[in-house]
């Protein structure tokens, strides 16, 4: 596997400009001759499909939901970062770049991260032009809020529904292209495999989720914008349908999978309440702007939080990280919360929760201001827990939220398979070992609106693409394999439901490959996952038939892939013998529990190559060179 990141030459600040100045272009008349498949219609997919349609490409956009407006980007609450420096508080492209790089614990590429920061401002301009109703000041100027891991206020937001508004902006741009005939949307269609022909990605095998029909579709390039794989944990903040099937099948067709163990656990989620729980709900990190996180100083203190006096509260984030306080980055805040609960200070049922308290802010700013900033979050909390956050502090606990790992891509977002591009959360590129808040929306839209329109042209202009047809051998063969897999799932006719396997897998991963990991636990997890996978194929029960609207069959296919991906995550975590960002290996910590990074041995991207059924995958590395910012100890104290 050749891993050439293809980073343009020249100084960091000029790389993207140089790339655009010298990139090969496709003439306007020729663009419509190229068909592009875009899988997924979240921020990255919808923006890419819309932007490519605007350029004149012939685009097919796929989503498993009933409409392109529903992808889980829609649930992003807090905001989107941009280095506009509208607050005059010292922000700049360079500062956003450096904070994102340090936030990722120096496990991402300098050139990619700089480009992201550079593009960030243009995203806000474009979204405003589309009609995204960002929060404003009375003067009519745009407002900002702060987010974790940053000392400036650079986050743009639409109440607590920023992801929704940005996605609806991208969706409406997509709708416009559908009306103009340049984009065709295929909703309720799930990609089940990738077709590689002549060494290039040339199409996909997709299943119509209403009729069950499995079909081969051809294209000149395939873009995966299928999101992350946090649902491998069963309980996560992701949408129920979010899944890893597209990226996993691409991996099995030859795309390198980078840093699979880098999974973000978000500190502020509503704690689980029972065994029936189907998902976890995030409470936006933006609440930490005005909220203070605390636990009682006395272990097992069961008193009503309002009755616990100031002197008997431990504002532990402020105590441990005086400089950043409640705005410590996610990985650090999550671990601190876990530690407090493990040590017996947790509040609520089972002691799995800490208080997120806005009482002080309500008293200082008034209910109206807090309602305007976070009203919908307060409502959501009340609806789910039945408790009123205006009266008592919220209880929160960490939950799997985002995956920094994903398919390896070069500077042009191309995977190790020519013609296969990967955008947004599905790729690994910009967040290293930990993503800062409000950066996922930024990356998704940067990839879709502003990067892929250039890099895809470069690919088309430099490639000779033969005509392909669904009746060509590679398409027929892959389609047959997909049909056989579907038939196999239905044929097991065992006793256990798909969900029971998924829950069990999630529990194993959460225990051994969650917020804290060690070699023995990871080795045990690999064994458990293998055994569970064996049992799945012996005993799973998938009701119904294939040519039908069959939601259990959809789930079964996804869980079958999770059962393989989970093992790779554990292997990756086992091989990375250091603690960095979200990846905390218990063997590598200081005496006071801080992570110890090993730049000598692990300053690289780990990229896994599929080697075949029952064969050990091969671990490759892409070394990370830091020319502008030297990796330093990441300190928020």
């Amino acid at each position: 596997m050749r891993l050439d990141p293809k980073i343009p030459a020249g100084p960091l600040e000029e790389k993207w400009t140089c790339y655009r100045n010298t990139v090969k272009l496709v003439s306007p008349a020729n663009k419509r001759l190229f068909t592009v498949i875009v899988v997924g219609t979240g921020l990255a997919g919808a923006s890419a499909a819309a932007a490519l349609g605007e350029l004149g490409y012939n685009v097919l956009a796929f989503c498993y939901q009933d409409s392109a407006r529903r992808a889980h980007s829609i649930a992003a609450q807090g905001g989107i970062n941009a280095a506009k420096n509208y607050q005059n508080d010292g922000d700049s492209t360079f500062r956003l770049f450096r904070e994102t790089l340090a936030g990722g614990d120096f496990r991402s590429r300098e050139a990619n991260v700089y480009r992201l920061a550079e593009i960030s401002g243009g995203i806000i301009d474009h979204c405003v032009a589309q009609g995204v109703p960002f929060a404003r000041e009375y003067s009519g100027y745009l407002a900002n809020r702060s987010f974790g891991g940053s000392l400036v206020s650079r986050t743009f937001y639409c109440r607590g529904q920023t992801g929704q508004q940005l996605l609806l902006g991208a969706y409406s741009a997509l709708c416009r292209q559908v009306g103009l005939g340049r984009v065709r949307i295929l909703p309720r269609t799930e990609m089940l495999d990738l077709v590689v022909a002549g060494g290039r990605a040339r199409g996909i095998i997709a299943r119509d989720l209403v009729t069950g029909r499995i079909e081969a579709l051809t294209a000149d390039a395939v873009l995966l914008a299928t999101g992350g794989y946090a649902n491998v944990f069963f309980l996560s903040t992701n949408g129920k349908g979010s899944n890893a099937t597209a990226v996993w099948r691409a991996y099995k067709r030859g795309a390198g999978f980078a840093n699979p163990c880098f999974t973000q656990v978000h500190p502020t989620c509503i704690p689980r309440s029972g065994d029936y729980q189907s998902k976890l709900t995030l409470m936006s990190e933006s609440l930490r702007n005005d909220g203070r996180v605390w636990v009682p100083k006395r272990k097992g203190d069961g008193r009503d939080p309002a009755g616990i006096p100031e002197t008997e509260r431990d504002y532990f984030l402020e105590r441990m990280y005086p400089r950043y306080g409640n705005l410590a980055p996610r990985d650090i805040a999550s671990r601190a919360v876990k530690r407090m609960c493990d040590d017996g200070y947790g509040a609520g049922p089972g002691g799995r929760g800490v208080y997120l308290d806005l009482t002080g802010a309500i008293a200082r700013l008034g209910e109206d201001v807090i309602r305007e900033r976070y009203g919908n979050l307060f409502e959501m909390y009340k609806r789910i827990t039945g408790e009123d956050p205006w009266r008592a502090p919220m209880r929160i606990y960490p939950a799997p939220h985002y995956t920094m790992g994903g398919l390896w891509v070069d500077y042009g977002l191309q995977s190790t398979i020519p013609g296969l591009f990967v955008l947004g959360e599905a790729n690994f590129s910009d967040h290293g070992a930990n993503r800062l808040g409000a950066s996922a929306l930024m990356q998704g839209l940067a990839d879709g609106y502003f990067i892929i329109p250039y890099t895809l042209g470069e690919y088309f202009a430099g490639a000779t693409l033969d005509k392909v047809s669904p009746s060509d051998r590679p398409f027929v063969e892959v389609q047959k394999e997909v049909q056989e897999q579907v038939a196999r799932l239905l044929a097991v006719k065992g006793k256990r439901t798909v969900d029971t396997f998924h829950r069990e897998l999630g529990a194993v991963l959460w225990e051994h490959c969650g917020m804290s990991r060690n070699a023995a636990g990871l080795r045990a997890a690999v064994e458990k996952i293998r055994a569970l996978r064996g049992e799945f194929w012996e005993d799973v029960r998938v009701p119904g038939s294939a040519p039908d609207f069959n939601q259990e069959l959809e789930k079964a296919g996804r869980v079958a892939d999770y059962l393989e991906l989970a093992e790779l995550m554990c292997r990756d975590a086992l091989e990375r013998e250091e603690s960095c960002g979200c990846h905390f290996r218990e063997e590598f910590q200081t005496t006071d529990g801080e992570p110890v990074r090993d730049d000598g041995r692990f300053c690289h991207v780990a990229v896994w190559e599929y080697a075949g059924e029952d064969r050990e995958p091969v671990r490759h590395t892409e070394p990370l060179a830091f020319e502008t910012v030297q990796p330093a100890e990441r300190s928020y104290k």
């Binding site: 923006s47 605007e54 939901q65 009933d66 409409s67 392109a68 407006r69 529903r70 889980h72 829609i74 649930a75 243009g122 806000i124 301009d125 474009h126 979204c127 405003v128 032009a129 589309q130 009609g131 109703p133 929060a135 404003r136 009375y138 009519g140 100027y141 745009l142 639409c158 529904q161 929704q164 609806l168 409406s172 741009a173 709708c175 009306g179 949307i185 909703p187 209403v210 949408g239 129920k240 349908g241 029972g274 029936y276 189907s278 709900t281 995030l282 959501m380 609806r383 789910i384 039945g386 609106y449 502003f450 329109p453 439901t497 969900d499 029960r541 009701p543 609207f549 939601q551 259990e552």
Partner: protein
Amino acid sequence: MRLTLHIWRQKNAADKGRFVKYEVDSASPDMSFLEMLDFLNQQLIERGEEPVAFEHDCREGICGCCGVVINGIANGPERGTTVCQLHLRHFKDGDTLYIEPWRSRAFPVIKDLVVDRSALDRIMQAGGYISARAGSAPDANAVLIPKETSELAMDAAECIGCGACAAACPNGAAMLFVAAKISHLGLLPQGQPERYRRVRAMVRQMDREGFGSCSNHRECAAVCPKRISIRFIAQANRDFINAYLTHPQAASGKSKAAKR
């Protein structure tokens, strides 16, 4: 908790469909309505029966996928809530619930509680956008927008496209959905150039899809999970009338394109 459920079962669009009775024992009041359906489905699969098909994704009340009629009310008895955010603590032990899909001519049933809402997408494709090419925008602060305007636009923009408004309307009108989008974009300065073209195109497509007309029943606003106000319908109606009276389609009479 113990609940008696009468759930609409329909194999596909061609099937006639019927209510089937199920008993759910030992449900927890902290379960969401959809978790209760999950719970039932696990039991159905174990008994060798087909689980109930229902649509869902984010389960945070924002994606707009879910939505069923519970005892005759779209999205159930709690105001301003999707069914994924409706918890059983709002029902009583021993309750009997009739659970149906959205009932609207423009939303054909696909299976059980799942309906086809692609009509809403087609209305959006007809004109629910501001034509702004990526890369062409001026600086975001170049156009100032009064806070009040931006907040009002946001109130309208909160629509999640679930279709409850059309399902609840005695006329099967989708006016709240359409009006929310017309108002969101029509309130903002960026939306002005296409304002009247947009309202004409969206209303025309809405009529083509078989949605009824609004006669101010206000059922839509009562069931809207985002509590979108019907004042936006008044606003859209005003824009619609303006589009025809004060902004004639082809002012010069020369351009064919101007007629669209």
